[in-house]
Structure formats: structure tokens, C-alpha cells
């Protein structure tokens, strides 16, 4: 059994100073990181506008993410019924939307195609992998 499948003990998220810390359980495997089902979500001013996601398994994958609605005006942040049910989210619940960012050469790219959606009330998350999407996995990020 991997460290990821057991909720305790909870390792600290390395050197990331954490102001808000919570463990989110992914309700479906994250592609490429199927074994890691628990992530610490860290929001702090040093990371802004990014949010850190640190996986709690042996491989300790860590990600930076940004709200896709800040990246692309009019981004369609709507959930299908299946995902809503998986997250235990009521229609009016405020959800956290996080698109993973990465460096590619001298650019910063955002994966708008497969955002991670978290229901903070339930601390459940899922990475959406829609069969069709108008959004790119490699959207260039420009900050003001």
C-alpha cells in the first residue's frame, strides 16, 4: 500500500511555507499520477497567483496551478453532472478551479484543457479530462 492511500501520517509539504493547508482526495486517478490520490493544497503570497498542489506519495509530485478564469476571460467553468456528483457539490457550491502551469523553454504554459476542480466543502478533487474541449493543454500564460 503506498503512502498515498493512507490518510495518516501526513508528511509536511517540503519547503513550501503554508498559510492554508488541507488534504484533498482525488476521486479519480490523475493521468500520469494514478497512484497518488491525496494532495496538499497550499495558497500563500509567495506563490501568488499560483496555488501549489503537493502529492502525498513516495514520488512527491508537486504542481503549480492557476485559476483558468484568470487566464482566459470567459473560460467555461461548468461541471457535468457526473463530476458534480463525484465531488459531492451542490449547484451553488463555490469550487476551486486549478489549471496546471509549467515552463516550456522561455514560456509559461497553462493546461486549460484538463483543469483540476476541488470542492473545498468536501475536500474532494478531480482532474477533468473532457473528450472534446475548445481549450489547449499548452495555453501561453501572460500576467499583467
Amino acid at each position: 500500500m503506498s503512502a498515498c492511500s493512507s490518510p495518516v501520517p501526513m508528511p509536511l509539504p517540503g519547503d513550501v511555507p503554508v498559510d492554508i493547508r488541507d488534504v484533498v482526495t482525488m476521486v479519480a486517478p490523475m493521468p500520469g499520477f494514478e497512484a497518488c490520490r491525496q494532495f496538499v493544497v497550499a495558497v500563500n503570497p509567495e506563490l501568488a497567483p499560483f496555488t501549489a498542489l503537493s502529492g502525498l506519495d513516495e514520488s512527491k509530485p508537486a504542481f503549480l496551478a492557476v485559476d483558468p478564469r484568470l487566464v482566459l476571460h470567459g473560460y467555461d467553468a461548468s461541471l457535468d453532472e457526473t463530476a458534480r456528483r463525484q465531488l459531492g457539490a451542490a449547484p451553488d457550491d463555490a469550487l476551486l478551479w486549478l489549471a496546471l502551469v509549467r515552463a516550456a523553454g522561455d514560456q509559461t504554459l497553462v493546461n486549460l484543457r484538463a483543469p483540476i476542480v476541488i470542492n473545498p466543502q468536501q475536500m474532494r478533487g478531480v482532474q477533468l479530462v473532457p473528450p472534446d474541449s475548445p481549450y489547449s493543454t499548452d495555453h501561453p500564460l501572460f500576467l499583467d
Binding site: 517540503g14 509567495e46 506563490l47 499560483f50 512527491k60 504542481f63 509549467r102 484543457r113 473528450p131 499548452d138
Partner: protein
């Protein structure tokens, strides 16, 4: 690999919860209907592989996140570079 021949409207059952029906067979390809519990995700492999590659390239060692955040911020605030070809 198990190889099974199926005609239109015939079904394969996997376990007791997954059914795959052949909806249409044509020169362009095969159209399948997949019935699976909602907690099981079903993807086209090429889409899944695309997200695997994007996720893997976004992963980093967790101790570096602050420096990576500042680097990504710097890159993203430079004057816009030409858009990559789709």
C-alpha cells in the same frame, strides 16, 4: 490479449458493471457505446496520453516550488512571445 468478434449491436461485458456495445461499423471506423459506473473514467487513449504528458511535464520537486513560481511569473510577465502553432 483477448480477441472477440462482434457484429453491430452486439455487446462485450467486462466484469459485472462495464458493457461495450458496437453501435456502428463503417469504413471510417467503429462507433462504440460504453456503459460504465460514473466512478470509472472512460477516455480515448490519445486524449488520456496527451493529459499524461502535460501532467508529467508540469510536475516538479516540491522543495523548488517557490523558485519555480517566481520563474514562471517572470516568464509570464514578459512581453508576449509569438503564439505557438496549434
Amino acid at each position: 490479449m483477448l480477441v472477440i468478434s462482434r457484429k453491430r449491436d452486439e455487446v462485450i461485458v467486462i466484469g459485472d458493471k462495464i458493457r461495450i456495445r458496437v453501435l456502428r461499423v463503417g469504413a471510417e471506423g467503429v462507433r462504440l457505446g460504453v456503459m460504465a459506473p460514473p466512478d470509472l473514467s472512460v477516455h480515448r487513449q490519445e486524449i488520456y496520453d496527451l493529459i499524461v504528458a502535460a501532467n508529467r511535464s508540469a510536475a516538479s520537486a516540491r522543495g523548488d516550488l517557490n523558485s519555480i513560481a517566481s520563474r514562471l511569473r517572470q516568464q509570464a510577465t514578459r512581453s508576449p512571445a509569438p503564439q505557438p502553432q496549434a
